[in-house]
Symmetry: C2
């Protein structure tokens, strides 16, 4: 394949950057105002852990310093509610101001998925969070699409997919990326249930993971630099365990993990497969084929990258269908749909990244 | 910068591929015939662990299957000696047949570096191995260059660098990549000692590392796909801990970790640094500057990669100085200097990768 850099004049660039594209935002973090928002959806037994026993979600990364203030965009704090928890503010700041056609909510409740032990309470929290999402978010705006939070226990995860997987605005099952490999056989029933319901698998890093093995790297800036490795390992695990051979139509959205490393991993895995495929005879195709057919990658956090280098990367991917725009609202490193993509790339490619690739993935 | 693909006719390609370039091989694994080869260089106390107590190096990766037979090139087995342990055979198969000008020996005795606990014995083994390398290898052929094996204990590591660092054929200190981060402050004296002796730091993966955190991925093909992450994390650790600010002239050779991922990590770290540099104020330059000025990457295992994509990657690196050819003799995935680089790239660039970049790094 061959992709071209448009050699635009400055004026044309400005015009192009002002053009309005339809936009799907594939990474939005809605939130609860507090854990008390879950109480209406929990049984009395589990309610007491919040009302009487002071249960709190596990602390995330061991870094005090992200940005001055916090990890949020400074203007996303509303009175008495943390960023992302006020529907009206999210509607105004994200959907209306950015003319978003659809936004895929991922929530923050990955913690139910990566929670160790006590899977029963995690399953109850995941269900409550899904009910909260349907009740307080999806019902209010047709532009909002949901991700099903699941517990790590695959039996309970399948039950939850059966329970809410047919909701018309639920488009994916969120497999939070924690310290275990989703490709392992014990999780295949979860892929099967998602696949049967026509749901995409979303994968998003949980903050509660050291990423790089061993201890946490010492700084947030270091941890963040290592962050994409967690996604690489889930991909390696899914491919080598034959997930895409069992479920050839399954689609996986890798959210907030970057994409500049994708051509490297495609080529690395192809080379390994050529020399060593006798080890995993259930893997029938070249690894890079699964990338192209089964995986999509969200774009935020966008790094400074020239049009030329972006097109190099897409050329090495071998397809223009792999990238999907995202904002990561309400986090500090929000990407605006109006200012992120280099305007020198073709309008067709901009439209694919901003809209079409996600529309096709989520069948919108 | 801009790099060009030569549009060669088939005939010119053939001619070009037959051209003889000078070659430095930056990744060769010499070996001991058995641990008994170390006995002449150990004190009586430590000798007994080998002769009487049956000490063996720790088992490496938990995969039984690499290639049919073993992890070695089939023709590198000599009678009564494992691949890489027979000087005459290595001389013939590697140096003479491939017209190698210099070969940098890395050995296999990283295990002394990554050994947990019992650092005293590890220090003795590292010293014995260095003496063995000088005595049985470097003294036999001026084309052979050595890497200093060190124990993980930084105090003993510094002593070992002081002891053998002035040997004229010792060109680098080998920091074996294990389950810890060399950039951490407790290891800075080791960088200081290497720097003071004008030695390069070599980094090579130890087999005894899960790479991806948590458990080992289930297959060798998966582990191998994840393998470069161990190098990424050492780089992240060195940069964020300010190693290259303390030792601006320090050079690090990242051996057998691949290179296609390098532009991604340069850009990822630059983006993280731009947003978060207040966290590590001792880091004074853009991370990508340290890559270009302080790091070099060996090329084996070479993946199928077109001249065009290779030049894309070099263009994104921003320099032609970063890559150094290597064979990984005597391993199964040996790369021949005559058949690896795509002949469509310029002769100048081939010469840089095959020879000049390593010559400049090791001051040969």
């Amino acid at each position: 394949m061959s992709v071209q850099v448009n050699d635009l004049s400055k004026k044309e660039n400005e015009n192009n950057s002002k053009k309005t594209f339809k936009v799907i935002d594939t990474d939005v973090h809605h939130d609860v105002r507090s854990t008390h928002d879950l109480l209406p959806y929990l049984s009395d037994h589990w309610k007491r852990y919040i009302t009487d026993y002071g249960w709190k979600p596990i602390k995330t990364v061991p870094f005090n310093q992200v940005r001055k203030g916090s990890k949020y965009r400074a203007d996303t704090f509303a009175e008495n509610s943390p960023p992302g928890s006020d529907f009206d503010l999210l509607k105004k700041q994200l959907l209306d101001e950015n003319e978003i056609t659809y936004a895929v909510l991922g929530g923050w409740f990955h913690e139910a998925t990566v929670a160790n032990g006590w899977f029963e309470f995690a399953a109850a929290r995941a269900s409550a969070y899904n009910d909260y999402t349907i009740d307080k978010w999806l019902s209010k705006d047709k532009r909002l699409l949901g991700s099903i939070t699941i517990p790590r226990d695959p039996v309970e995860a399948v039950k939850e997919i059966e329970r809410v997987g047919s909701h018309p605005q639920m488009v994916q099952v969120m497999m939070s990326v924690g310290n275990f490999y989703w490709g392992e056989p014990q999780y295949h029933p979860v892929f099967e249930a998602a696949h049967r319901h026509g749901l995409v698998i979303g994968m998003h890093l949980s903050a509660d993971i050291s990423v790089s093995g061993n201890d946490y790297l010492r700084y947030y800036v270091a941890w963040r630099s290592a962050h994409p490795q967690a996604y690489m390992n889930q991909i390696i695990s899914m491919i080598t365990n034959g997930v895409f051979d069992k479920f050839p139509d399954l689609k996986v959205a890798l959210i907030e993990g970057g994409f500049e490393w994708v051509p490297f991993l495609m080529n690395r895995m192809d080379a390994a497969y050529k020399g060593l495929r006798q080890e995993t005879p259930w893997v029938k195709r070249m690894p890079s084929d699964y990338f192209r057919d089964n995986m999509r990658f969200s774009t935020q956090p966008w790094h400074d990258i020239s049009a030329k280098h972006l097109l190099n990367i897409i050329d090495m991917m071998g397809t223009e269908d792999m990238l999907m725009f995202s904002t990561d609202y309400p986090h500090w490193d929000f990407d605006s749909p109006k200012r992120t993509l280099p305007p020198q790339i073709s309008k067709d490619l901009q439209h694919k990244i901003l809209f079409e690739n996600a529309r096709d993935l989520y069948k919108l």
